[in-house]
Symmetry: C2
Subunit: 153 residues, 2 copies
DNA sequence: GGTTGACCTTAACCTTTGTTGAGGTTCTAG
DNA sequence: CTAGAACCTCAACAAAGGTTAAGGTCAACC
């Protein structure tokens, strides 16, 4: 069990899955989607470079921020292939994603605050309620670009 | 055009869709899912009580907070049927959802902060990195309940 | 040398949140 | 009264992110 040396540097799909806390099927899935890659043994079994662990760590973190896999994949594509991503790489990705995160936090915060303001005011019946069109969406059609009018007035 | 009186109190699917800024297909969909309901004309066309507008407003707001339709539907089920939800109803729902929102904001904020802390530290290679298991998930299997170990030792 | 567990592929299925299309009916305006 | 807009149903498709099953190989331990 000791001294596997060089062999120990490659991981089977099961090891990767267990060490990342994800299902084997998910590892397969990520590979199919091109997010990670592997080589094969003579017996056609996948062997993963250890770098895949860090990539999977990045994937998991990014997913928690709500970034879709396609985007994560695009970002990972810019990293050097088949090597462990460096701290520098990670720094670049994470600072970019942090901006996304900040934006989403801001959005949710605005929503929450407006929710709070609207609780007392019966606001939902008023066509000018900020909840109806807080920030995004509905490029002006009609005066006020309201999404909803609840009263017939 | 004037004096439609009582008839004016019911809305066609197209009117509802336009006034809510959603597609007719979405209105159909919400009805199929039991979130809203309608009556039919002799010619089998849907007619909606105006209360549906407020319900749709609630649905839209709740969706922005990330609440799945099933949950929104469950909440709406507790409201009186076929009447316009009252301000009280709305107050109840929105304060509940605001709690959810707050929780999600907190989660994202923690994630962002940890992302920031980890940028400098090369943390992703350390099995104790808080990013790997910030709060939730992985009920203790193994010491430290870590999701990832990136280094072999 | 055989049994068991891990692995392989392909394909189908799942959930969510709708949209699109086909084929047919109803409503409304001129 | 008739044309066109709006409506109807039902079924299929879409995209994301996977899981599950079927049928078959590989590897490792005793």
């Amino acid at each position: 069990m000791a001294e596997k040396g060089a062999l120990q540097r490659y991981l089977s799909v099961g090891e990767v899955a267990k060490r990342c806390g994800i299902a084997v099927s998910a590892v397969h899935f990520y590979e199919r989607k091109g997010l990670i890659s592997s080589i094969r043994t003579d017996g056609n079994q996948r062997r993963f470079h250890r770098g895949v662990l860090r990539k999977l760590a990045i994937i998991k973190v990014a997913q928690k921020t709500g970034i879709p896999l396609s985007e994560i994949g695009a970002a990972l594509d810019k990293l050097p292939r088949n090597t462990v991503p460096t701290v520098k790489d990670w720094e670049h990705l994470s600072s970019q994603w942090r901006d996304d995160l900040n934006e989403r936090i801001d959005q949710l915060t605005r929503l929450r605050d407006q929710l709070g303001q609207c609780i007392g005011c019966g606001c939902l019946s008023i066509s000018a309620c900020p909840l109806y069109n807080p920030n995004d969406a509905l490029g002006g059609d009609g005066p006020g670009a309201r999404l909803l009018e609840l009263e017939d007035e």
